[in-house]
């Protein structure tokens, strides 16, 4: 019934489309009014072999090699992967496992580049100024080889989305400037300072996917960004079919599927992609990087990182070269001693707490927040029993029933958890945010997902072993049969001419084999 009422209100123009649920966290966008600062290059940059969703890369360089800024140093392995590039010129000093920004503090092979201070750029990629005349497939390869992955934080390889499929013509390109996570101001500052480059990137994407129209989505807590984008639109040529849409602020509106619903009133079916309903989404930061990749021929070697948090007196939105050690970056903001602070990689709603602070900035580093212990303890007070108030169901943008789901996960009833759509959870954290009992619901969901994934892996492994052993048994059986046949053939051929006896031996042989 509420859905019907909403549709009715929309028809009357009383209500914009708006995804269900969501929360209104306090925003703390303290860096919104401060211009982007360029972080100095660190003495050593650490480049993990996997900074995106998908398969890891393998190094192309050896220890001792000199590399230039933008030079490819690791090649992608497999389809869902993008290469890694050197963030500055220098020498490869080490290739070894090192901690990456991951809640477990796990490590991956990383290339260590010692900067030579020259910042010499690899100019081998030609700028493509006339991209309008270039085949989208060629541009797509350019986007892939430049290492682009979604800079909104999900780091899904960008080129994969930029494909034309006749069955699914793209109606709308959505440029995501929502940035609904508290503290983060990358997209906001980018829209204020580089609106023209963002639009240029958008135009390229629209050309690549043959989109009929474009929407730049901005929340109403960034009115200056909306003005900047509208002004840039009026300056741009050939962008009459693009408009800026200002949406009421609500977390997690920046989540792709929720944003699409807010803008179009259409849902992306489970297990399908936005392109299947004629929509492609790009983050504004990715759009700028795409402009750089195509028009300037620059690979992805830097990104914006909001360095902030209640323990940082001098926060800023920074343009950071990838591989910059987090410790160095905080030192540049005047935070030398990280002990006694909690570091968050990303925003507070979906970001991970860094267990190990000796990690580098990677393509998914939207923000680095240093939080004081009291603040974090306030966010994680002791878990109380669920009083079934239902606020989590109301807040869930996917319409799950988080408390029932958490119960199922906690009691290891994974069948039930799956039936309650555990895998449709986007882990936005809205449920935990509103929970009066401070239940770490996302934590339980991750546990459930992990356990189910583990069981599935084991099942696949067991299945494979079973097949292997069956094949082996069959092979041994076949070999035995063949041996027996051969032996009997030999005996028959060499036997004295006494046919009756020979047959008897053959039978005897066969029984022996069986036992």
């Amino acid at each position: 019934m509420p859905a019907m009422l909403r549709k009715f209100a929309q028809r009357l123009g009383m209500l914009q489309h708006s995804f269900a649920g969501g929360v209104h966290p306090e925003m703390f966008k303290v860096t919104a009014g401060l211009p982007i600062e360029v972080a100095p290059i660190a003495p050593v940059h650490i480049l993990p072999m996997k900074q995106h969703i998908g398969e890891a890369c393998s190094p192309l360089v050896k220890v001792g090699d000199r590399v230039l800024r933008g030079q490819k140093i690791a090649k992608s392995e497999g389809y869902l992967s993008v290469p890694v590039h050197a963030p500055t010129s220098g020498r490869v000093v080490r290739i070894e496992e090192h901690a990456i920004p991951h809640p477990s503090g796990m490590g991956l092979p990383c290339i260590f580049i010692e900067s030579d201070g020259q910042d010499e750029v690899d100019e081998s990629l030609e700028p493509i100024a006339n991209w309008r005349e270039i085949n989208p497939a060629i541009l797509r390869e350019r986007v892939r080889m430049c290492g682009l992955a979604g800079l909104g934080g999900a780091v899904f390889p960008t080129f994969i989305k930029l494909i034309q499929d006749k069955r699914f013509p793209i109606e709308t390109l959505v440029l995501n400037g929502i940035e609904c996570e508290p503290w983060l101001t990358n997209d906001h500052r980018m829209m204020l300072e580089n609106p023209d480059d963002i639009l240029s990137g958008m135009a390229i994407v629209m050309h690549m996917v043959d989109a009929k129209s474009g929407i730049i989505a901005i929340e109403d807590n960034k009115p200056d960004a909306a003005i900047a984008m509208r002004e840039a639109l009026s300056r741009a040529s050939d962008m009459e079919n693009v408009r800026v849409v200002v949406l009421p602020t609500r977390y997690p509106q920046g989540s792709e599927k929720q944003l699409i619903y807010s803008l179009t009133g259409k849902e992306v079916e489970a297990g399908r992609l936005p392109m299947h309903i004629g929509v492609v989404c790009q983050n504004v930061g990715t759009s700028k990087a795409l402009h750089d990749a195509v028009v300037l021929g620059r690979t992805l070697t830097e990104r914006l990182v909001t360095v902030s948090g209640d323990a940082v007196d001098n926060p800023a939105t920074m343009s950071v070269r990838l591989g910059m050690p987090v410790r160095t970056l905080f030192a540049q903001r005047g935070v030398d001693d990280l002990s006694g602070l909690h570091l968050l990689h990303g925003g507070p709603m979906m970001g991970e707490r860094l267990k190990n602070v000796d990690v580098p900035v990677i393509k998914s580093t939207t923000g680095l927040l240093a939080m004081s212990i009291p603040t974090m303890q306030q966010a994680h007070t002791e878990e109380q029993p669920c009083i079934r108030c239902g606020h989590c169901s109301e807040a869930c943008p996917v319409h799950l029933v988080p408390n029932l789901l958490a119960d199922a996960c906690r009691s290891d009833q994974f069948d039930k958890a799956e039936k309650y759509h555990l895998f449709d959870c986007i882990e936005c954290g809205s449920c935990s945010y509103v929970c009066p009992s401070n239940i770490p619901l996302v934590h339980y969901f991750r546990y459930g997902k992990g356990q189910i994934a583990q069981t599935r892996r084991e099942q696949i492994f067991a299945e494979a072993s079973r097949k292997r052993s069956e094949t082996r048994d069959a092979r041994i059986e076949a070999e035995k049969a063949e041996k027996a046949a051969r032996r009997s053939r030999v005996r028959r051929d060499h036997a004295p001419v006494k046919p009756v006896e020979a047959v008897e031996t053959e039978v005897k042989d066969a029984t022996e084999e069986k036992s």
Binding site: E267, C389, S393
Partner: protein, 355 residues
């Protein structure tokens, strides 16, 4: 205390303690009216119930080796207040104590404490009392009675005496100080074959009095106005949602309206149902008790409709004049089922999906 690694690393600040406190605040108007109507008897009843509930909770926590700080979540205090407001003023102290112990031990702790009880603790204790002591539980003291020879509600020592020793000590029969509740009166008259309209006339029933609360009943349930103020406060604070109260009351009104239109001699009119007995108290406060009601909006609507149908049916056809509390308790049993079958449609799954 170690800080969780899992996000979100932010919290809205909502807590059980605040939620319970909000409900206690929302009950303040009804509590004040009850004191206004039933004087010191109401005060004694409320203090006894809340005190016993807190003490029992503390003993249970100690016995189960749980931190006593759990007392501060205000849930036991709220249960005590709820219970007191659903009791008639004629209840003596030991019955109030017994009911409070029942509410905490059998209503809540026996299931594992807050969050695990199937039934609304206050309601279950009240029902136990109603079944065990039907006379006391259906004797309604005349509100605002200040008559000196009988029972002056505004005189502390008289009330204390009455509360401690019961009516016998005062050499008073119940009849002298009590009256029938509208629901009870109409029901009794109906069994004698008196039509509804005539019975209401004979009772001198006034909708305005019923709305404001100047009539017989449990101490906290008489004033529709005070309860509505509290209910609206809860809705505004988002402690409850509209689903249960709306569907519950609408169902009762709809059924009562329909049957009253068909047969006005036998069935009472909808507004009478609305203001009589514990309907508004149950709809806004009891049925919305988060622990014992469904979590999903659709489930809550189903729950409310069920409560409405049962309330109206028990009042119209049952042996008891009032059915609201039975209705809520009965629907409490159905909550796990409702939760399972009325989950919302998940994003990205067509409306036909039931997996």
């Amino acid at each position: 205390m170690p800080v969780m690694l899992s996000p979100p690393h932010a919290h809205g600040g909502d807590s059980i303690r605040m939620t319970m406190l909000t409900v206690i605040l929302a009950l303040l108007p009804a509590t004040m009216i009850s004191v206004y109507l039933f004087g010191w008897l109401a005060v004694l009843l409320i203090v006894t119930c809340m005190g016993t509930a807190l003490l029992t909770e503390a003993l249970c926590l100690k016995w189960m080796k749980r931190p006593l700080s759990t007392l501060l979540d205000n849930s036991a205090a709220l249960t005590g207040l709820f219970l007191a407001l659903t009791l008639p003023a004629a209840v003596p102290w030991w019955m109030a104590v017994l009911a409070s112990v029942f509410a905490i031990v059998l209503g809540k702790q026996i299931y594992g404490g807050l969050g695990y009880n199937i039934f609304n603790p206050a309601l279950s204790a009240r029902i136990i009392l109603l079944i065990s002591f039907p006379l006391h539980m259906t004797t309604w003291i005349v509100p605002m009675s200040a008559a000196e020879p009988l029972l002056n509600l505004y005189d502390f020592s008289t009330c204390l005496n009455f509360f401690l020793a019961g009516p016998d000590a005062l050499k008073l029969g119940f009849d002298a100080i009590s009256m029938a509740s509208p629901l009870g009166y109409v029901k009794t008259e109906a069994t004698l074959g008196v039509p509804v309209a005539e019975a209401l006339n004979a009772y001198n029933y006034s909708y305005l009095n019923a709305f404001l609360g100047f009539e017989a009943g449990s101490i906290g349930e008489t004033s529709a106005l005070a309860l509505l103020i509290g209910g609206i406060f809860l809705l505004a604070r988002h402690t409850i949602t509209w689903h249960i109260p709306f569907s519950y009351i609408a169902t009762v009104l709809l059924l009562a309206g329909l049957f009253n239109a068909l047969n006005p001699e036998q069935f009472t009119p909808p507004l009478f149902h609305l203001f009589a007995g514990g309907l508004i108290l149950c709809a806004f406060f009891m049925a919305t008790d988060p622990v014992s009601s469904p979590v999903t909006p659709l489930g809550q609507i189903v729950f409310g409709i069920g409560c409405g149908v049962l309330t109206w049916s028990i009042r119209s056809f049952g042996g008891y004049p009032e059915g609201a509390m039975f209705a809520v308790l009965l629907m409490n049993c159905a909550v796990p089922l409702i939760d399972h079958y009325f989950r919302p449609r998940v994003y990205g799954y067509g409306s036909g999906d039931k997996s």
